[in-house]
């Protein structure tokens, strides 16, 4: 804790929080006119003032806790949601993270001006100390803002990745009780999990007895991919469906043989069309056989 001058009876951070509290109304009024708040709160000015007050009350709390440089200070927590909404709105208007950061930087200047006016009678040392604390506090706020934006971006990327995963592995019903999965992209562990789940669900839903896994769109088949494929085939078999793997391109076939990968007793066909023909032929034969009494 930084000690205040002996005569004030207040520590510097207490003086800072006292100043912010005393001036909340005026600061909020000033901030509400800045481009940042004006651009985000377009409906009424009161809305902007209210948001300013909310951010300020968080800053007061951080100042009171004395943790001006602490990104994790609990005081910042209630501000995060407000900040997420504001930064998201600015991003949607096409501003970069750096531009938004600059807009938040301007908030500090309004407060510094007011501090200068306020402490015209105070000891120069005391007001210098308050300025320093104020600069520190707003510096931390800016980092919190940037962090919030980065986090938000990361969540969007994560969400899109998940959507892409599911989009890229559709199971299609080709024929009565016959489903196919055209696999596209690398079958890493996350992907193959999704593929497996989607396929098993589709097998149940369509009461499928044959499933075609087409790997024409899979660029590399290494031992892990092969293992995933075999696991998928084995679980489909447990559900009563037989799998055919199609689309093993010549370069991949050669590589698999040299790598020592053997898809075991899984039926394979060169193309999806071949696999389909195999499936239909098999179906025909089974039906014919069941009609002829032994």
């Amino acid at each position: 804790m930084i000690d205040g001058p002996p005569d004030s009876g207040l520590s510097s951070t207490e003086a800072l929080s006292a100043f912010l509290r005393r001036r909340t109304e005026q600061i909020a009024q000033r901030w509400a006119d800045l481009p940042l708040f004006q651009a985000v709160f377009t409906v009424t000015r009161d809305e902007a003032v209210e948001a300013c007050q909310a951010v300020l009350s968080c800053l007061v709390e951080v100042a009171e806790s004395g943790r001006l440089e602490d990104l994790e200070a609990p005081g910042f927590l209630p501000a995060r949601r407000q900040l997420v909404a504001m930064t998201a709105s600015r991003s949607r208007s096409g501003l970069s993270i750096a531009q938004v950061d600059r807009e938040f930087g301007v908030l500090r200047d309004a407060v510094l001006d007011m501090l200068a006016a306020d402490s015209s009678g105070a000891a120069p040392e005391e007001s210098a100390r308050l300025r320093l604390l104020l600069v520190t506090l707003f510096g931390t706020l800016r980092v919190v803002v940037v962090e919030t934006m980065l986090q938000e971006n990361q969540e969007i990327v994560q969400r899109q990745r998940q959507q892409l995963l599911e989009m890229a592995t559709p199971v299609v019903k080709l024929w009565d009780r016959l489903v196919a999965v055209p696999l596209i992209g690398m079958l890493d562990s996350a992907r193959s999990q999704v593929v497996m789940e989607n396929l098993l669900e589709a097998i149940v839903e369509h009461n499928a007895d044959i499933a075609i896994l087409d790997i024409t769109g899979v660029p590399t088949v290494d031992s892990l991919v092969a293992q995933h494929l075999m696991k998928t085939v084995a679980s489909a078999r447990l559900m009563g469906a037989e799998c055919v793997i199609s689309g093993i391109r010549p370069a991949i076939a050669q590589t698999m043989v040299q790598l020592g990968l053997d898809l075991g007793h899984v039926t394979t066909r060169a193309t999806l069309a071949d696999a389909l023909e195999w499936a239909l032929e098999r179906r025909r034969r089974r039906e014919r056989d069941s009609r002829i009494p032994e």
Partner: protein
């Protein structure tokens, strides 16, 4: 012996998570294509790199890949070195055996990669960890051992 003149074209790639493997596969493929590798050769080298990068991540706890474009007397080629600071590979012969895995894998990665490339070396450097080096050339130049 003729010292191999190598053009310095070096790419360092981190291996910290699954997505890094994708980057390595892409880089190896596009550099191999640039070096004139045919589709089968590209696929073999990329597949070996994929195996070794995954070993670096899985068994070595992460590390890095260093891809070097070669342009020596053997013609254009690619060398990839995988290093990590994990436990190393104490029994190389055993690790190379098909079907040997300490991680419930197929145990085909190391032995298989060796068959897919022209140069293959496993080392346990004194500073710890494992170092696996592979290289292939886009054309075989018998000229090196020449007339």
């Amino acid at each position: 012996m003729i010292p191999e003149r190598e053009r310095v074209e070096l790419v360092h790639l981190p291996i910290r998570e699954d997505t890094d493997l994708t980057v390595i596969r892409h880089q190896v493929r596009s550099l191999a294509r640039l070096a004139g590798f045919g589709l089968v050769q590209q696929t073999k080298l990329v597949t070996a790199a994929s195996e070794l990068a995954r070993n670096t991540l899985l068994h070595g706890g992460g590390g890095e890949a260093e891809i070097r474009v070669l342009d020596g007397p053997d013609g254009p080629g690619l060398r990839v070195v995988f290093t990590d600071s994990g436990p190393g590979i104490p029994d190389v012969e055993r690790a190379l055996q098909d079907g040997f895995s300490t991680a419930n894998g197929l145990g085909m990665g190391l032995g298989g990669s060796k068959r897919l490339v022209q140069e293959f070396r496993i080392e346990n450097p004194p500073e710890g960890g494992a170092r696996v080096t592979i290289a292939s050339w886009s054309a075989s130049f018998p000229a090196r051992y020449g007339v």
